[in-house]
């Protein structure tokens, strides 16, 4: 005899993520969940973003890695609060890990919280942590077939930042093909083309981000 259950396996994580979100909203905080493959440039992007934005927006960062605190150290050098989570093997951050990390931050003093997820183009897309939006990076050295190969990540993210465009003359990567793949999956995805190394395209990204933080404060109040 079968007893109906009909419960979501991830219900506990979803509940914690929703509670995290309530806490963030109460603190007037805009939260992004930054994801990509390892080495696409998440931490570099954060460094450049913080440099350009920290005088106008109070930023805090939660870093997620399997091991080591290199990334949190890099961010801390930019003069903002950075908390490092070591997952010791877990391939993504979840709501509970963020709950523990956020307790170490003075949320009321922040306008923008950036969660830098574990480098992984698969699993982080599955797990809410309480963010306002997911933002992903793809570097041109990874190839232009990634949208169709990793559809969930591209469908779940609001923004795609194509990084390392200074290397385009040296790799077989068509930005047009990336855009084409994205338009099949997520027509409203906002795309920025940047180089963290040369600075190209970063101004547009930072302005857009600042605008989102401002808008979220207006709608929260």
């Amino acid at each position: 005899m079968k007893i109906p259950v009909v419960r979501n396996v991830l219900e506990v994580n979803d509940r914690i993520a929703d509670q995290n979100r309530e806490i963030f909203d109460r603190n007037n905080l805009f939260v992004i969940n930054l994801m990509s493959s390892p080495g696409a440039g998440k931490t570099s992007l954060l460094e450049k973003t913080i440099e350009r934005l920290k005088d106008r927006v109070n930023i805090g960062v939660i870093e997620g890695d399997i091991q080591c605190s290199f990334d949190a150290e890099r961010i801390a050098k930019k003069g903002v609060q950075a908390i490092q989570i070591n997952t010791d093997g877990a391939c993504h951050l979840d709501g509970n890990m963020i709950r523990e990390a956020m307790n170490q931050l003075d949320l009321s003093a922040l306008d923008l919280l950036i969660v830098e997820n574990v480098g992984n183009l698969v699993c982080p897309a599955e797990f809410k942590v309480g963010e306002n939006m997911k933002i992903m990076l793809l570097s041109v050295t990874e190839g232009d077939d990634k949208p169709l190969k990793y559809p969930l990540m591209f469908q779940e993210s609001r923004v795609l930042i194509i990084n390392k465009i200074d290397l385009l003359p040296y790799v077989d990567c068509s930005v047009e093909k990336i855009r084409e793949g994205v338009s099949q999956l997520n027509r409203d995805m906002i795309i920025f083309e940047v180089s963290c190394r040369t600075g190209e395209g970063l101004e547009a990204w930072v302005s857009w981000l600042e605008e989102q933080v401002k808008r979220s404060k207006i709608s929260q109040n």
Partner: protein, 114 residues
């Protein structure tokens, strides 16, 4: 890849339901797992055996129904599958389809012996 933590979640939910219904032993647990969830059923079964060893769930069958990935065109409402080669609607070439099935990770039911 994260099958172990998913299975722990399943066990926690099932234990709650068993207590709720006053059930001591189960014949099977029926899951619906969408193909988009990147979960490997064989890994789940293995993790389940490991985590339930010497508990009241030891020997319970884990029945995993894989749900195919189905998109619905926002333009003409045609439903279709995708092998990842194209996500355009086969009927009208529309883009940006809605994912309607394939992301499930659900415990549908628990089964007791009659």
């Amino acid at each position: 890849m994260h099958e172990m933590s998913l299975v722990q979640n399943i066990i926690d939910i099932v234990e709650q339901e068993m207590n709720r219904h006053g059930v001591e032993k189960l014949k099977a647990i029926h899951l619906a797992v969408g193909r988009m969830s990147a979960v490997v059923p064989e890994q789940m079964t293995l993790c389940f055996e490991i985590l339930t060893s010497k508990t009241r769930l030891a020997g319970t069958a884990l029945d995993i129904k894989m749900v195919p990935i189905i998109y619905r065109c926002r333009n003409c409402y045609q439903e279709f599958t995708s092998e990842g080669i194209s996500f355009k609607c086969p009927s009208c070439d529309g883009e940006d389809p809605e994912l309607v099935f394939g992301r499930e990770l659900k415990i549908e039911s628990i089964e007791v012996s009659d």
